[in-house]
Symmetry: C2
Subunit: 191 residues, 2 copies
Amino acid sequence: MTARKKPVERRPRVDAQRNRERILEVAKTAFTRHGADISLDSVAKQAGVGAGTLYRHFATREALLEAVYRTELSRLAAAEKEFSRTMAPVDALRAWMLLFVDYVATKQLIVAALNTMVCDTSKLFSASGSLITEAIESLVRRAIASGDIRADLDPLDLLRALIGVSNVASVPDWPASARRLVQILLVGSRP
Amino acid sequence: MTARKKPVERRPRVDAQRNRERILEVAKTAFTRHGADISLDSVAKQAGVGAGTLYRHFATREALLEAVYRTELSRLAAAEKEFSRTMAPVDALRAWMLLFVDYVATKQLIVAALNTMVCDTSKLFSASGSLITEAIESLVRRAIASGDIRADLDPLDLLRALIGVSNVASVPDWPASARRLVQILLVGSRP
DNA sequence: ATGCTAAACGGAGAATGTCTCCGATTGCAA
DNA sequence: TTGCAATCGGAGACATTCTCCGTTTAGCAT
């Protein structure tokens, strides 16, 4: 065989990066407007790239969905930090739970689709660098330390219940309903 | 125009009925084994009928799924009657919630798919003759009357939270986790 | 600048799935 | 039996997913 070339580190090509962002942008509006089942080829076409390019950047539909919402998920994670800094433990937890419900509620179609695909909702969130799981774990830990929450509560269980609560978004007057349910979860979690 | 024929009431043909049942049977095992996304044509082939026959009996994938699980849903409804007859209100409610979680947990793939499609989980259950919604409404009403549950609790909200709880089925030791969560919901729902 | 090369592109097309249409078939009633 | 309406089945039109590979292009070295 011939001499092996030293693998030179190359900067990623700017067109690749630009395409990637175009795809993400188009996909985001398309997903929220028409649901998560739209044709990926149509997304590619709208983004002005070929199907091959789209599939090279995002091997699966899930990968694309996850990439689309990773930034939003990190915003949720940032809110956790903010709440933890400025609020009492149980208030921070409640506020974050409500924010979570509000956030997920506006993305119903997408979350449902992810549910179908990954079949394990916690995996869905852990896919995004554990951002969400870490957020709720931190909040719950603090609330346990302050004595507002029973010690044997599994934060991830709470997260799963929250996802169920997010389903209320499809009924009229859902914000009030969500608030009641979050309150039920908190009261039921007391020591 | 010619004389209008009197619309004679005819018994459904036996082959039609048999085909319908064959399809349901095949679909049930296929759905639970390979998820809700399997090719409907393959179901038709396995059932020994043409695609046209399948689509005539069940116009959409949802219709097929709903038909497949209608019998199981009615079994859940029957359990409600049984529990209400033999248990104290809050115990009946708890037992039924646990049964519900257990039931839904084994059908993860299907429920997730239905979620994606109908996008309103309560609609999913009301599709089956309101069996499920009536069951939980009855249980909650009784528990409110006996003073175990706060009066302003919306039964459907509780149902939605339960569906979220069902997601725990994907983690090890989920029965214990589900039990804890149901308990949290009940405690949080006290007056 | 210029040439080289790996990386990225894009779209044709194979594979798969959905759903319809309509000629053939068949059970039911008279 | 016979007529006919209900039912059947599968070919085929259409949509979608995803891959393959010839072409293009950005970055690096000279």
